[in-house]
């Protein structure tokens, strides 16, 4: 096969321009103060040899890679994709690139993956809902600078962006209650995940306020398949409404119920969470709690940029989901 092409180095440019590598470096970085003719010669040589500095060598010397890591549970989830897309675009404007990784194959490796990938770059945006609090706190110093996503209540000292899942699902439940539903099911997410925990708490406070509500929890998951598989469980639970862990589960659930001959929303109302772009186009459209994922990505970069610049990052913020009432919910028969 083709012999791997060797890139031209700073030494070659220096030789060609008849100067030292130090001078080439200075010219390339705009720190040159000497005669214009010299700078011009260097630029010409660089141009002719099609030279551009090795980011690797530069990174080693400078101690900075202009790269940030983005670690999430599952890259296949549209919610994370939206964050990634916004994060990448924002970072690119500052000349930074994003290195990605997901931990879907082995949730227990979240920490190992994070620390490994972190060493390859300057900072990390970490979404690790299943990492135990103790692990996170223990590793925090090695991960800095970092921005956390969705770890409300953590004692880790880092800027954090989160979604108020508790309030969000509470509102969804209230909506169902107002429609007249009294028997509901929660189609749960991974029991080890923090975001699932907050949804359960939100529902707990809801049921505390409404003793006349009967709420059952059924096994769900995080994807469309999981939602579809949960359809049978929801039906046999004998409820008139189901709150799904997220939109994917809701979409799968609606589809699964349809296959079982259960009409949504006529027989059972269904809610999602996230408001992924397709929730509104589903048949029926999904009533959900809307989360500003792009905004999350943008803000993550803002925090990140401040951190790598050694400045004070903005405050941690908790986004309030907005209720999106659509076609998948209606009064019970």
């Amino acid at each position: 096969m083709a012999t791997r092409r060797r890139r031209t180095t700073i030494a070659e440019v220096a030789a060609r321009a008849g100067v030292s590598p130090a001078t080439v470096s200075r010219v390339m970085n705009g720190r040159f103060v000497g005669e214009d003719t010299v700078a011009e010669r260097v630029r010409a040589a660089a141009e002719e040899l099609d030279y551009s500095p090795s980011p690797l060598a530069r990174g080693l010397a400078l101690g900075t890679t202009r790269t940030v890591a983005f670690v999430v549970p599952d890259l296949a989830n549209p919610a994370f994709q939206d964050i990634l897309s916004a994060l990448s675009k924002s970072a690119a404007r500052s000349g930074y690139r994003v290195l990605v990784a997901d931990s879907v194959e082995s949730p227990s490796d979240e920490l190992a993956i994070a620390t490994e990938i972190r060493r390859r770059c300057d900072a990390i945006v970490l979404c690790a809902p299943r990492m135990p609090e103790s692990e996170l706190v223990g590793a925090i110093e090695d991960l800095k600078p970092l921005v956390l996503i969705n770890r409300p209540g953590t004692s880790a000292d880092a800027p954090m962006l989160s979604i108020d899942y508790l309030t969000g699902i509470h509102h969804l439940a209230e909506h169902l209650y107002a429609l007249g539903h009294r028997r509901m099911a929660y189609v749960a997410g991974p029991s080890t995940s923090a975001s699932d925990r907050y949804r359960r708490r939100g529902l707990a406070s809801f049921t505390a306020e409404h003793p006349d509500v009967e709420l059952v929890t059924v096994t769900g998951g995080v994807g469309i398949d999981d939602g579809q598989a949960a359809a049978a469980r929801v039906r046999s639970a004998g409820v008139t409404a189901a709150l799904a862990f997220n939109d994917l589960v809701a979409i799968g659930l609606v589809h699964g119920l349809d296959e079982l001959g259960v009409a949504v929303p006529d027989d059972v109302s269904v809610t999602g969470f996230d408001d992924i772009p397709f929730a509104r186009y589903n048949s029926p459209s999904i009533t959900t709690a809307s989360v500003p994922h792009e905004e999350l990505g943008v803000q993550a970069w803002d925090r990140m940029a401040a951190l790598v610049a050694g400045k004070e990052p903005g405050h941690s913020v908790q986004f309030q989901p907005r209720l999106e009432l659509r076609g998948s919910t209606a009064p019970p028969r």
Copy 2:
């Protein structure tokens, strides 16, 4: 803020173990052949100091970063997200990470972005449908090893994975024809994109076979918004069927037509392309040409792995889309 923590270096481990850095390096990489007690001492020292080699320094010395780039027109497009997700998972199994970038903000910079990001890693998976052929061929040597996506017909010497858009859209058109449609619209993609060109060719060969078909082309785009905006144009074109550039456009179009009081598929049939996960859950579900995106990501990694190992990559392949007949198409009124 917190003083940036300095990582322990190989020299410190060496000092602690009472050996030279060379020995530590050998032990860490399993190339050590000396006495076991020495190796044990090194391992202990590394453990105590919580040492792990700097990937950056390692990369410089070894000339390899164990990172590959993935460049696409738009990370927000679910089709690319599916490829990325599969690519990242496959690469991770071999200890590689993926660096991402999109060129959505400035399509003309595709080449600049690709060459810049390429220098940060060992190889690149490039999906650059709008890059002029001459530019691509000119830069090919600098980009190698690379795997191309969707550049059928290019003379660039690199493994390529592509979708047979030409045949795919031809089949979709035939499907509409069989249903009885004779006046159709093509809701186009970006005119500079190669994949749009192939769709046009496919349609050209279709109309050549069916002189009784009238086909008009209307401006479209790549996203849901573009599809929605195209609804008015489709309606005023007076057609009974519309072939959208992709599923996103189709979803937007269906939605837009609905808002205009045009029923799909009763008044107008609509087809998409890609079969993104949500096409089947749309209301109505979208008739489309199914593209195996995850497979594309997996195969991209296979080629990549072969290339970086200096082996012969597998052959270039062209995936044939599979027709998915769903609810958005029906005989004309």
